[in-house]
Structures are given as structure tokens and as C-alpha cells.
């Protein structure tokens, strides 16, 4: 049977990888520390625009944020539900295009268009989910690739709606009560809040009973359906949830680029999203943002060391895949686990691993 690389066998392993609720899963005594951590994150976000140049803020940080938001939808699908979807750029593109079309072709108010785009994300996810509800594993990957490429070609060929190859230029991000989102700092804060919001939302879903069903889908489809769950309905709902964050990513990307064209969702972009998520690692949603940051940095600065940027990107990607089961995040978490074990060895107090969960796989 098909098993994603992180299909796990017992709970303590899960815990060691920080999967179950991540930092929140430990004793309640650590909550204070967690709260402090979040405050630090908040402070870091607040301080970012002061610390980095305007250019880095826009082209590295904001870009990584929206790419990470789009990537988190894929990280959610892979990490939680074991669904490798290459159709997330299709969702992303649907939302972005819808907003651009409504504003630039039909003179619809920007906020109505944004709302429509945010709804279009889960709806597109739902449709993709319905189409692919019976597939799994590598078949699902190929089916969603076909959907992703179909949407790209639709954007390129169906001119009455999409303006063909040229796409939409000159899209101005909105102004909220005098705060102009075409400026970098406001756009950064909006993107950062959106990123935090998306991660929180996806984690809430992951910790709900639905999330349990998703992991059932990932680890053992047969057992899931034996428990009375519909694998089809579970698949469809996972796609819809992921569609929401891909749609937000699409909206932010159009604000960032001021444009959308078939080139924004072509096969290179489909592959790039997969690379982002794989480099980051899928055991935690935050991996997508890490991956987005690494890819964005490579794309912007690698050509200062080499004439062959793409070879470097590809090679870095291959090395990370070869050395880590879970991308960069996996490397960090491994290192942390090892450090903890070392502490334990020297008599440090560590919480005991709980009783192992019953094995989900023989």
C-alpha cells in the first residue's frame, strides 16, 4: 500500500517529531513558554520592516509569505491527509484570476472581489476534491497535475475570460482606511497576519476530529472506512480546507505582482510549489514558509555565485531530499531530538514517553 514518508507507527515517534500539536502538546507548565514564544514571533514580525531593507522586505519576505501561504495548503494536504496535490496552483490561480477579472473587467468593488476570491479558493478546492475523491497516492499526484496543467492552459487559451497569454496587468492592491496596500509595510503586515491566521486555522482543523480523519486517510484508508468514515468525503473536505489557504495565497500574489498571467501558474510554478514544500518539510505547516524563504533566497541571490542558478536550486533540493526524510524542518527536529537525548543521558529531566499507541500498520 502507498505510504507517505511520514506514515508513523506509534505515538511517541509522533511526539518526538513534534507532530501532535507541536509546541502545545507538552505539559501545561510549558504554556507560559509557548506564549512567550508567540510574543517573540509577534515582536519579530513587528521588527522585520525596521531590520531589513525595503527591497528585502518586498521581494524576499513578502514573497516568501504568500508563497508560504500557498505552500502551506500543500503541506497541509501532504502532511495531514497524505494527499500529494499538484493542483494547488490551479486553486491559487482561480482566486487570483477571479479577483483580477472582477476588478479589471467588470469594475466590481475591490472588497467584493477579494471576498469572492476568498470563497473561490475553497470552492475550487472542493471541485478538485470531487474530481479526485477516488484516487490516492501517485495516481492522485498525476490526476492533480493534469488539473493544474488544464487550468494553466485554460488561462492561456480561453481568451474571452482570461485575456490569454498576456493576462492582467496593472492591478492595484486596495487601500484600507488610508492604509495603502501597494506600499510595502502595510502589505507586509497584512501578509504576515494572513500567514499566522492561515497557520492557526489549518492547525485548528488538524486538531479537530476532522484532522483525525485526515491522518486516518494518510495512514490507513481501509481502517478509516472500516470505522465508518467516507474516504471520499474526507478527501473532498481536505481539499476544500487547503483550497482556502491557496486562495488567500493567490489574492496576496496578485497584490504583490500587480498582475496575473498564465506564467504565474505554469508547470514551472507547479513544480516550484512542490519544491518549496519538500525543502521545508511537511510535518509542520511552518515548513512551507521555511521552504519558501529558502527558494526565494536562492532565486534572488544564487546568481551572484554561479552562472547556473537552476542547477544550484536543483542540487540543493536533491541534497535535502537525500539527507532528510522531512526537509529542513526534519533536520532541525532531528537535531533537537538528539540534543534532548543527550541531555537525558546526562541525567536531565525529560518527560517520559507515554505508552505507545497501537500500531496503525502491521
Amino acid at each position: 500500500m502507498y505510504r507517505p514518508e511520514h506514515a508513523v507507527t506509534n505515538g511517541s515517534e509522533l511526539r518526538e517529531r513534534g507532530e501532535l500539536g507541536g509546541v502545545f502538546s507538552a505539559k501545561s507548565g510549558r504554556l507560559l513558554a509557548n506564549c512567550a514564544l508567540l510574543l517573540v514571533i509577534g515582536a519579530a514580525i513587528a521588527a522585520t520592516p525596521v531590520l531589513v531593507s525595503d527591497f528585502v522586505l518586498l521581494q524576499i519576505v513578502i514573497k516568501s509569505l504568500w508563497l508560504g501561504i500557498a505552500g502551506s495548503s500543500l503541506a497541509f494536504l501532504i502532511g495531514q491527509a497524505g494527499l500529494i496535490s499538484l493542483a494547488q496552483t490551479a486553486v491559487f490561480g482561480t482566486s487570483g484570476y477571479l479577483m483580477a477579472i472582477l476588478v479589471l473587467e467588470h469594475d466590481v468593488g475591490i472588497w467584493v472581489a477579494v471576498a469572492a476570491a476568498c470563497i473561490a479558493g475553497p470552492v475550487a478546492g472542493l471541485i478538485i476534491g470531487i474530481i479526485s475523491q477516488r484516487s490516492s497516492g501517485l495516481y492522485l499526484m498525476m490526476l492533480t497535475l493534469a488539473i493544474g496543467v488544464f487550468v494553466f492552459f485554460f488561462a492561456q487559451q480561453y481568451q474571452p475570460i482570461t485575456r490569454g497569454h498576456t493576462g492582467f496587468n496593472g492591478f492595484d492592491a486596495p487601500i484600507i482606511k488610508g492604509v495603502n496596500l501597494q506600499e510595502r509595510e502595510p502589505l507586509f503586515y497584512v501578509s504576515a497576519i494572513a500567514a499566522v491566521g492561515v497557520v492557526i486555522l489549518l492547525r485548528l482543523v488538524a486538531q479537530s476530529p476532522a484532522g483525525l480523519a485526515y491522518r486516518g486517510l494518510r495512514d490507513n484508508r481501509k481502517r478509516l472506512s472500516a470505522l465508518g468514515y467516507s474516504t471520499a468525503a474526507t478527501t473532498v473536505s481536505a481539499f476544500a480546507v487547503a483550497g482556502f489557504s491557496a486562495g488567500i495565497g493567490g489574492v496576496l500574489a496578485v497584490w504583490y505582482n500587480g498582475a496575473i498571467s498564465p506564467g504565474s501558474i505554469d508547470i514551472a510554478r507547479i513544480i516550484e510549489l512542490l519544491i518549496v514544500v519538500t525543502i521545508g518539510g511537511t510535518i509542520r505547516l511552518e515548513g512551507a514558509f521555511l521552504g519558501a524563504l529558502v527558494v526565494t533566497l536562492l532565486r534572488n541571490y544564487a546568481n551572484e555565485f554561479t552562472n547556473r542558478t537552476s542547477t544550484l536550486v536543483g542540487a540543493v533540493f536533491m541534497v535535502i531530499v537525500l539527507i532528510s526524510r522531512n526537509g529542513l524542518l526534519g533536520i532541525f527536529i532531528n537535531a533537537r531530538t538528539k540534543a534532548h537525548k543527550a541531555i537525558k543521558l546526562f541525567g536531565g529531566q525529560r518527560l517520559k514517553a507515554k505508552q505507545p499507541y497501537p500500531q496503525t500498520n502491521p
Binding site: 515582536a43 492552459f153 492561456q156 490569454g164 501597494q182 505554469d266 552562472n307
Partner: protein
């Protein structure tokens, strides 16, 4: 689930975090209102202009006052950023473009840093001001082109941008560069009509022709010179071929000819056989407009399938010198119009060809190296006219560019009111693998000689515009 007991607390924490974020965001926003001098240089002007959305004012007088905290403008160095397609399907054309840029800089004392495409040129100077070259590549998508250009403008402080290569990249860069009046874009080979024809930007200059101008004259010649009455067209399905087909049909239909089929091939097609099968038997000629790989695939397959029983008339880039070698004998005798011919005999052209051959080891002139050379050299010439001083927000420099007239390797050039060049176009035929002149069509303008307002009112060329007959 074992995390259930933490749920309420978890919610509380998240709420708290978001609250912190919002507070932090607003607080910081206020702080930064006093901060702009920190983020000095071009970026300040960029954001300021973006906010104010300054209209068509190349020399906006308010501009310098918005950036008061710059006592010493960058007189020590001027940076030229060149962008072309260095990745993806058009990567080979990107190499040609950079040859042109580097040749122009070498005429101003520059020395090649190395033989790689991304290796720059150092030591060039204009009126005693050193010129620095930075090079960025795109993959022909607008998003990547804008990011690469933004990097050159903001990170490398580029004052002048040379490029881009493809049409839709040009349109995207126009929107970006319009908001930064102090930065000047001199177009490379982007041939989209609307880079300059409709809604032009004051700091965008094109010293070459657009796609429609490149195809000028061949429609009339097909009707009058070759006696064709019915033609079919086959072309890639996007804006640049629309412009070429549009220009040809505008003339051909005005002369009295008719078009039976307009076949549009989706980008990304490699096997043209089923499109070739749609070409009717009873036409006098087939006009095809394609570039790079597509041109080679199409001509080869058309030749295999029909033996060229119905003659081909080529679009300007379809038989450009950059693909002519690969087309080989199949291109012999093909008629086209375009900007570059090998037998013009112009002294500047011969000098350019000789330098190209010498510096870049056997390279020959084509649209890409010639156009990027002209763009770069125009920029350098205008810089020379203002003594290398662009400290006034480039307004004197842009004025000098606007008034610039010079004899390029492919003929005399000057700009119209939209900063679009009026150029010579050649009617040409492929003979022994070279483009040979049939006729020179002097002073072709952006409206192909038609009255301006009515020409613009006809709308952009598309799959079925212009109508014919």
C-alpha cells in the same frame, strides 16, 4: 485526541498572539512614518511615486523636493541593468541579447569580465563617469521579469534598464517602471505594440520597431509584387503573432486580398502536423509568424509534409538570423520583412558585424544582438549628451534620449511623441542562408503610415482583428 485538554488555552494564546500582531503592526506603522531617510536612494522615490501615482511627468518638479536628504547624488557611478531571458525556452536568445549590450559598453572603454553570459563588463565610462553593468535573467514570464528588474533597481541601484526580450514581459515592466520616474527603461526586443502605442509611460523608450512594424510592407508586396490574392495564416496563439498577422492582413486586405483561414497554434505545441493539415489547397501563399523552436519545428514539418508546394511568407522573427542556420535550405527563397538584413552595406552595420565576430567568436548580427546593442548605445549616447549627470532625477537624460537621432547599424532612427522609434524596415529574401534586401521601406512609424487616431481606435490586433473583406 490527547491534545483536547489544551484547546481552550490554545485558542486564548492564538487570540493573544494575533492581538499582539495587530498592535505591533499599527505601532510600527506610526514609527516608520518618520523613517524614510533610513531607506535612502531610489527606493524612497519609488515608494513615494507609487503612493502619489505621479502622472505623465518625466521631469516632475516636485520629485527632488521629496527626497531632500541626499546631499551627494550618485555622481560617482551610473548603473545599467540588462535583463533578458536566460532561462527557459528562450534562453539562447538571452545570450545574443547580452552580446549586444556588452559590445556597446566596450565602445565606451569597457573590458569583458569573462566569457559567461552573466559575466559583466568593467571599466566603461561616459564623460568621466564610470558605468557599471548588472545582468539579470528571466524565464520569459512577466512575474519573473518584474522581480529581476526590481532587484536591479533597488538592490543594485540601476539607473537605466535595458530590456526585456519578450512582449508580455515588456507590458509588465512598463507598469512597474512607470512608478519610478528617475529610472529609465530602454526596451530590448519586446515587440508588444502597447508598450508605446497605447497608454505610454514617460520613462519607457523604444529605439526599435514593434511586432506590427517589423511585418510592415510584406502584405502589400505579397499582393502587388508576388500577385497573391488568397492567403492563409498560421501563427502562435498570443499577442506578438497577433501583431504580425494583423499588420500583414491590414495591408493585404486593404489591397484587395482575402484571407481564408487564420490558424492559431497554442504555445507549447511541438508537432504541427495536424495544424498543417488544416491549410487549404487553394491559397496562393501561407503567412506564418513564429519564433525560436516553433519556427524550426513548423518550417521543417511544413517542408516534410508539403514540399512547400504552397510558398511560405515568413514573419520577421521566424526567419531571423538567429534561427536561419538551423532552418538551413528549407528557408531558401522565403520572403519576409524585418529589421535586419545582411547586405545593407551600411558602414555602421559592417563595423558592428565585424566587432561581433571578433569579440564573440563568429557570432553574426540578428534581431536580438542588434536591438540590445542599439538600446544600450542609445542610452550611453544620451548620457554623454548630459555629461553623465542624472542627478536631476534623470529628467535631462530622458529629454536627451527623447531628442536622440542617430544612424544605427540598421538605419537612421528617431522617436515619436510616445518615445517609439520611427525606423527603416527591410523587405528581404533568404539567399544562401543570408537575408538579402529586396527593398528598403524608410521611416516606418508605429501606425504603419495610417492616421494615428483612427489606427489606435481600431483596437489591438487579436485572433480575429483586423476583419478582412
Amino acid at each position: 485526541m490527547q491534545t483536547n485538554n489544551f484547546k481552550p488555552l490554545w485558542r486564548l494564546v492564538t487570540l493573544l498572539a494575533v492581538f499582539c500582531l495587530v498592535i505591533a503592526a499599527c505601532g510600527n506603522d506610526d514609527d516608520n512614518a518618520d523613517e524614510p531617510p533610513l531607506a535612502a536612494q531610489a527606493t524612497t522615490a519609488a515608494t513615494a511615486a507609487a503612493t502619489a501615482n505621479v502622472p505623465d511627468q518625466p521631469s516632475a518638479p516636485s520629485e527632488p523636493t521629496e527626497v531632500p536628504s541626499e546631499p551627494t547624488p550618485r555622481t560617482q557611478e551610473i548603473t545599467i541593468g540588462a535583463i533578458s531571458t536566460l532561462d527557459g525556452p528562450f534562453a539562447g536568445l538571452g545570450d545574443f541579447s547580452m552580446h549586444g549590450v556588452k559590445l556597446a559598453l566596450m565602445e565606451y572603454g569597457g573590458v569583458l569580465d569573462g566569457s559567461g553570459t552573466r559575466d559583466g563588463v568593467s571599466g566603461a565610462s561616459v564623460a568621466g563617469v564610470p558605468i557599471r553593468l548588472v545582468i539579470e535573467g528571466s524565464d520569459a514570464t512577466p512575474d519573473v521579469a518584474v522581480e529581476a528588474t526590481r532587484k536591479m533597481v533597488e538592490q543594485d541601484n540601476a539607473d537605466i534598464i535595458i530590456g526585456p526580450l519578450s512582449g508580455d514581459e515588456g507590458l509588465a515592466l512598463k507598469d512597474y517602471i512607470r512608478d519610478i520616474p528617475a529610472v529609465t527603461l530602454v526596451n530590448g526586443t519586446s515587440a508588444s505594440q502597447d508598450l508605446t502605442l497605447r497608454d505610454p509611460a514617460p520613462n519607457v523608450f523604444r529605439f526599435g520597431a514593434d511586432g506590427a512594424m517589423w511585418a510592415y510592407g510584406v502584405g502589400t508586396y505579397a499582393y502587388e509584387g508576388l500577385g497573391h490574392r488568397r492567403i492563409a495564416t498560421i501563427a502562435e496563439d498570443y499577442s506578438y503573432p497577433y501583431d504580425q498577422v494583423g499588420a500583414v492582413l491590414t495591408e493585404f486586405c486593404a489591397a484587395g486580398g482575402t484571407v481564408t483561414d487564420r490558424i492559431w497554434v497554442p504555445l507549447g505545441t511541438q508537432d504541427y502536423s495536424s495544424f498543417i493539415a488544416q491549410i487549404p489547397d487553394d491559397v496562393d501563399a501561407v503567412f506564418f509568424a513564429m519564433g525560436g523552436t516553433d519556427a524550426i519545428n513548423f518550417v521543417k514539418q511544413y517542408d516534410d509534409f508539403t514540399g512547400q508546394a504552397i510558398p511560405l511568407i515568413a514573419g520577421p522573427t521566424a526567419v531571423d538570423q538567429s534561427v536561419l542556420t538551423e532552418l538551413g535550405d528549407r528557408a531558401e527563397g522565403m520572403i519576409s520583412s524585418g529589421p535586419v538584413v545582411d547586405d545593407s552595406g551600411l558602414a555602421n552595420f559592417n563595423a558592428f558585424a565585424a566587432r561581433l565576430d571578433e569579440v564573440f567568436d563568429g557570432q553574426t548580427p540578428n534581431i536580438f544582438n542588434v536591438y540590445y546593442y542599439i538600446a544600450t548605445k542609445s542610452a550611453l549616447a544620451a548620457l554623454e549628451m548630459v555629461g553623465g549627470d542624472i542627478s536631476d532625477g534623470s529628467s535631462a537624460f530622458q529629454a536627451a534620449l527623447t531628442d536622440l537621432r542617430w544612424d544605427t547599424p540598421i538605419g537612421p532612427v528617431y522617436l515619436d511623441e510616445n518615445r517609439q522609434a520611427v525606423v527603416d524596415i527591410y523587405l528581404r529574401e533568404v539567399q544562401d542562408g543570408a537575408q538579402v534586401t529586396i527593398d528598403t521601406l524608410p521611416q516606418v512609424n508605429a501606425t504603419l503610415g495610417f492616421e494615428r487616431d483612427s489606427y489606435i481606435a481600431k483596437g489591438s490586433f487579436s485572433r480575429n482583428n483586423p476583419p478582412c473583406g
